[in-house]
């Protein structure tokens, strides 16, 4: 919110990720720009969540580079890579498939996130209440977070993300566990983030959701990035046979 410059674009080059010698991601390269909503699409096990976590800095690449803000001129983003990643991460937030909420009130959860972001104590309450209001949880602020319904919990996770004013919001299958109504509510909030200028990077295996949200599709399959295409083009004229099969619902492995 106060950052004068943006951490975008994100430049990912020849990304490889291995666990115990097993290669899960193969030479993935892409570039994410400011403004658009990017959806990582693909069947289960395609490597969508891994890619998201690598971009967010939760995992360390086996090989390849993840570079934020290569165009930033003030030089703050250059220099030692780990430090640059950490600085970039301060302007990101992530919402997980299963919301991880602390054993505190709903407001306490948001305030805790602000505290971790070193927001002054005096400002936390107001910013938390604003975030709760934005996500329709104003009435539930004092309720223990873990007694909220599944949909409310996920909205609280979004409120927590919103409160920290991220430039980039990662969402990992945020509605996979939700009923249609709760899913709609979450998608509406995502639109709100987008309207406020936050870069949306989201994974889903739900074609319909991808069509509703995406400006741009990254299609992954078996740990490889097969397409990076504008959404309307992807859904009308997918370039690869794997993507064609996926769109037709002929699930592939």
């Amino acid at each position: 919110m106060t950052a004068p410059s943006t951490i975008l674009p994100l430049e990912v080059t020849d990304l490889v990720y291995e666990i115990d010698g097993k290669r899960l991601l193969h030479d993935i390269s892409f570039r994410l720009s400011i403004g658009s909503r990017t959806v990582l699409l693909g069947p289960n096990g395609a490597g969508k969540s891994l890619t998201l976590r690598l971009c967010h800095g939760l995992l360390t690449p086996t090989m390849g580079a993840i570079r934020w803000g290569s165009q930033i001129s003030d030089g703050k983003m250059s220099g030692e890579p780990a430090g640059a990643l950490a600085r970039a991460q301060r302007h990101q937030a992530m919402v997980f498939q299963r919301p991880v909420l602390l054993r505190r009130s709903a407001r306490g959860n948001v305030e805790h996130a602000l505290k971790l972001r070193r927001v002054a104590r005096a400002q936390r309450r107001a910013r938390a209440d604003l975030a709760l209001a934005q996500t329709g949880l104003a009435a539930l602020g004092d309720q223990p977070a873990r007694t909220l319904s599944g949909g409310e919990q996920q909205r609280l996770a979004l409120a927590r993300a919103w409160a920290t004013s991220p430039q980039v919001l990662f969402l990992d299958e945020p509605t996979a566990n939700l009923d249609p109504a709760a899913t709609r509510a979450v998608e509406t909030l995502i639109d709100g983030f987008h309207a406020a200028g936050t870069k949306i990077v989201m994974t889903t295996h739900d074609l319909g959701q991808a069509q509703r949200i995406a400006d741009e599709i990254l299609f992954l399959h078996n740990g490889r990035l097969l397409e990076q295409t504008p959404a309307d083009q992807f859904f009308t004229a997918p370039q690869t046979r794997a993507a064609q099969a996926f769109i037709k619902g002929e699930l592939l492995w």
């Binding site: 976590r53 967010h56 800095g57 939760l58 950490a86 991460q89 301060r90 990101q92 937030a93 992530m94 997980f96 991880v100 602390l102 054993r103 505190r104 009130s105 805790h112 996130a113 505290k115 971790l116 972001r117 223990p144 873990r146 007694t147 319904s149 599944g150 919990q153 927590r160 920290t164 566990n177």
Partner: protein, 239 residues
């Protein structure tokens, strides 16, 4: 059953009589064991959490050692502390042997591994659940420890009680380093040992019953605290 009946009578008499010596023994027992548990928590909570969150060479061995230390025989701890605090030992000049302080030191050594090892387990489990979220929020190591300890507070309450149980019930260590000096270092367990050695088994058992009541009371108080807090924020997992 005559002995048990007599023991129950003795216990009841002791409790209702408010005998000064007896209350002194009960008070010292509580003071020594609660102090030891408090110090053990101050050391054991961060230590256990740090061990759960750190990755360093030899960490597995450190965890194994910590777990093994939970089974430290009180007599061995008593002996080690005795030798350290003895006038002939390295800390003899402090003149702490046969004082309540020596008893607190011994019990702290007994209880700290229990607190630290069980805290490590609790924090490890919580970290598996919270780790990615906290890292995503940019939590530092200190932030993480504070957050996980606070969120594990209900489990930690039980851990504290386990440590308190060990401290209040042990006799081997406090007997050796305290000396069971009347009005100075005599606690419930050493008093029980003394009455047993006098052959006054009914009085020994009576004191034992009082000790049990005491442990129950401490557990009851902390459970009431935990229950109140727990009702307010016990999780209702909804998938």
């Amino acid at each position: 059953m005559g002995e048990f009946g007599q023991a129950l009578m003795n216990a009841a008499t002791l409790i209702v009589s408010f005998d000064g010596d007896f209350l002194g023994i009960v008070g010292l027992s509580l003071r020594v064991s609660l102090s030891a548990v408090l110090i053990a928590c101050i050391i054991g909570f961060p230590l256990g959490a740090l061990l759960a969150l750190s990755r360093f060479p030899g960490r597995g061995a450190a965890v194994a050692v910590l777990n093994a230390l939970m089974g430290l025989p009180p007599v061995v701890v008593g002996l080690i502390v005795f030798l350290l605090l003895s006038r002939a030992g390295p800390f003899g000049v402090l003149g702490l042997l046969f004082t309540p302080t020596a008893m607190i030191i011994a019990q702290t050594i007994l209880v700290t591994p229990i607190i630290a090892a069980l805290t490590r387990q609790t924090v490890t489990d919580l970290w598996a659940e919270y780790g990615e979220q906290l890292r995503s929020l940019g939590a530092t190591r200190a932030d993480t420890i504070a957050t996980l300890l606070w969120d594990g507070r209900f489990s930690l309450t039980t851990i504290v009680l386990a440590g308190f149980g060990r401290a209040i019930a042990e006799v081997g260590a406090v007997m050796i380093v305290g000396g069971n000096i009347d009005n100075v270092t005599r606690v419930m367990t050493t008093a029980i040992a003394l009455e047993t050695s006098k052959g006054d088994l009914e009085m020994a058992l009576g004191l034992g019953i009082v000790l049990l009541v005491l442990a129950l009371a401490v557990n009851g108080v902390s459970q009431a605290i935990a229950a109140g807090a727990s009702r307010a924020s016990q999780q209702a997992v909804r998938a």
